[in-house]
């Protein structure tokens, strides 16, 4: 038994050479950049200077942003909250569609839906966002319809809702694509077996399909959440400077006040928070799923 396993393993072991590009990208662009960012966050900010030359390192920036007042906690919380709401709604909308694509026996339906989904990825994100600005603007389509119907105009841009809707629009196709695999992996004879035992389609869904696709669903959710909380363009345009998410705050530190160390300190805490959340969810999940024989 052990020998068989070892054979399997060596067969699947890819030569180091093929892994090298991924490894190099990771070391230079992720780990390297992260270390530089951390170093930067420890430097002292001198107004008017972009390149900081100070040789002394301190946690002063962390204290300025995270120790003296609560305003940045507000931005952090807004990012996590808005991103969370958008993610949950996106996954909830995406799941039935992904289920349909995974289970339909009609090739045409599957192809059409997939093509439409993939097509949305090809639309430039600036174009996507502007299309929403046009839709939601004071003279936008939604307000035109409202006025035509005799209602008063509603202000969308600059509200949480506008940003959330924009994020859903951006996340929904990604969530769908990420969910197709996990749902497809649920053996359809298990669904039939449940139906045969008397379960209605709804019961089959909640008793079999959903729990068995849970690991993949959580992974898809985490992916969407990471994209949502770190969103930049969508809150920038649809938030109109009123709704600010962490990316926008960090961006303004870098590009408006040229406070690189300050931006770095904000980014480090933001990153740590997201990692902590992702790790927590993952941890909770693996513990719960071990019993199912997934572990």
């Amino acid at each position: 038994m052990r020998d068989v396993d070892r054979d399997e393993e060596s067969k699947h072991r890819s030569p180091i050479l093929f892994l090298a590009p991924a490894f190099l990208i990771f070391v230079f662009f992720y780990a390297g950049a992260l270390i530089m960012l951390f170093v930067q966050s420890l430097q002292t900010y001198t107004p008017g200077r972009i390149v900081q030359v100070s040789q002394s390192f301190s946690f002063a920036n962390y204290i300025i942003y995270w120790g003296r007042n609560l305003v940045y906690y507000g931005f952090l919380w807004d990012s996590l909250r808005i991103g969370g709401i958008a993610t949950v709604i996106s996954v909830l909308i995406a799941y039935p569609l992904a289920h349909k694509i995974s289970r339909t026996e009609r090739a045409l339906v599957k192809k059409t839906l997939l093509t439409v989904l993939v097509a949305t990825f090809f639309i430039n994100s600036i174009v996507k966002v502007y299309s929403w600005v046009i839709m939601q603007g004071d003279a936008g389509l939604i307000n035109e319809i409202l006025t035509a119907l005799g209602y008063s105009k509603v202000r969308f841009l600059g509200t949480d809702e506008a940003v959330i809707i924009g994020l859903i629009y951006f996340l929904f196709p990604i969530a769908t694509m990420a969910l197709i695999g996990p749902i497809k992996n649920v053996d359809s004879t298990l669904e039939q077996a449940a139906g045969n035992l008397g379960a209605t389609n709804t019961q089959v869904f909640f008793d079999v399909t959903l729990p068995l696709s849970m690991p993949g669903t959580i992974a898809a959710t985490l992916l969407c959440y990471a994209l949502a909380v770190s969103a930049f363009i969508i809150p920038m345009f649809l938030g109109s400077g009123i709704v600010l998410m962490m990316s926008n705050i960090i961006f303004s530190r870098y590009s408006e006040s040229f406070n690189y160390p300050g931006g770095a300190a904000l980014a480090m805490v933001f990153l740590a928070t997201i990692l902590f959340i992702a790790f927590g969810i993952n941890r909770l999940l693996t513990k719960r799923l071990k019993g199912f024989g997934y572990g």
Binding site: L190, A199, P211
Partner: protein, 368 residues
Amino acid sequence: MSDDKRYVDLELVGLSKKFGSTLAVDDVSLTMPEGEFLTLIGPSGCGKTTTLRMIAGFVTPTSGEVRVKGEDISGRPPYLRNTGMVFQNYALFPHMTVYENIAYGLKIRSYSEQTIRQNVREALDTVKLPGLEERYPKQLSGGQQQRVALARALVIQPAILLFDEPLSNLDLKLRQQMRSEIKAIQRRVGITTMYVTHDQGEALVMSDRLAVMNKGRVVQVGSPTEVYEKPKTRFVAEFIGEANYIEGTVLRSDSSGVETKIDGQVVFAPPDTALRENEKVGVCVRPERIQVYRGRESPATGERNALRGTVEEVVYVGSIVRYQVRLDRSKMVVDRMVASVDNLCAVGETVVVQWSDANTILLPADTG
């Protein structure tokens, strides 16, 4: 047939299924009395699984009806049909324990916790698996998973029990053991059962009746003995058991019997009033019904079918030996029990093959 006083439990009436332009199931009609074990058997793609799935409700028939106790259920979704299905891959819920798997159908039916507990225990006793309640399917062997699947199907007390090639993933020994166990459980519970397989051994051992399917149609229905002894077509003869099939011509046909000519030699068969002189006919003999005598002359056993030939191949399989005997243009396969290994015929040896009239099966010529 007509003197059967049992209730009809399951009835298929002109059941057909088209997938695109292919007719997967073609006008299948079957009637199963209460408690019967009927096997749908045929090669892959013959429509047997599709037929079963139409009964369970996973496939919607293009036309025809499925009746359970006289009631047409073809329009109902699977969950309102009360059929218990055992799947080929067992289809046990991997995220539920053995107990939860078996209890699932009862929970759906909102039984009380106590009733569920008791029924699950009884079901596990029935399939001889007590004490494994808390295991997950992954922790069970193939045979055990099979039993859990059976218990799960039985515990809901379905009107009909359906099996979709349930033993094909097990090794030979276990398969043979499970055959007789499934059969014993079915008999004890007395549940009407439809069983799908392509394994003729399974079909012959387990069934009350077989329905042999080919290209979407039921070609013959009968008890294992009927189907084996009196196949209606060449296809049935060759699919259920093995058969030597040689085409010939009817020389004479009357009340005393049928005389046919194959490969220049005369073969006698029991009377068949439907056959006329000079008609083409398929002559069929089972390999194990043929005797082999060494030398050129057959002993005077009183059996008239005696053909001379040469041994072309000898395959020794332990309990039996299989000879391939070349006649003139045709060949015959003969199976003999090995009484003594010193007395086997050799390749190239001249022999006489012999069988009784009663063992000659006459079939319509040239049917697939």
